[in-house]
Amino acid sequence: TVLLALHDRAPQLKISEDRLAVTGEKGYCMVRATHWVNRGSWYWEATIEEMPEGSAVRLGWGQDYANLQAPLGYDKFGYSWRSKKGTKFHESGGKRFSNGYGEGDTLGFLIILPERP
Amino acid sequence: WSAFAPDFKELDENVEYEERESEFDLTDE
């Protein structure tokens, strides 16, 4: 089962008991999941069960070197899709991608990598 | 000496900076 990692994250983030929720207070930073891929095509899905008022999230794929002290998509090692306005990000550049998403939405993330690592 | 930087604000003590959601983005949508 894919969960939020307990160690591969910005230490100031709070991870819930079931490791499926994360809360941040001081500044925008990142937690990675427990699973990774390095070849072939992979797809993961998440249903947003709860997003407190005024919260925002950026979900997607992040490489090992993505800076955990910044949001996913800040540097060239990450690609994210933001809940607010549905913007997609890579290297801090935001582009229109979809409407915003929130509680009850199910999001899918596909990555296509070469067969050889 | 505040002229050193335009609209410089003199402080008596540290202030915590509140980051915006777009803090790291090239442009703020």
């Binding site: 001081k26 500044g27 002290q69 | -």
Partner: protein
Amino acid sequence: NLPMAMRFRHLKLTSRQSVGVFRSQIHKRGLFCQRDIESGEMVIEYAGEVIRSVLADKRERQYTVIGMGCYMFRIDENFVVDATMKGNAARFINHSCDPNCYSKVVEILGHKHIIIFALRKIICGEELTYDYKFPFEEDKIPCTCGSRRCRKFLN
């Protein structure tokens, strides 16, 4: 020998009387003392905006692009005080390889403060300096402190 928290509370009132900013030929501005200061005394807090380290690099690049001098001081590996746009007179304290002050990060009531202390007795009118202790780097910044023990570079 009062507790740090008491000395710090007192500092806010006194530092405005203790230090002044002067126009310096070498560094444009400098900090000088307006009364005799005893060795070990708290002189001033290096105050500014507390930001996460990851923001400091970004801001430094932005200031450089617009040609603005950058005044920052690292608190620890997570936080930096950025005094470029918001700060107090401490931002003008210059470096010396033979300083009369030193900086120290002091935790008071759960918050970290960068405080400048007097290394020795300082006579009214003297410039206040401390050793920036920049980390060693490839591209060198020449030091113009002119002291006998000058190390020739800031970093």
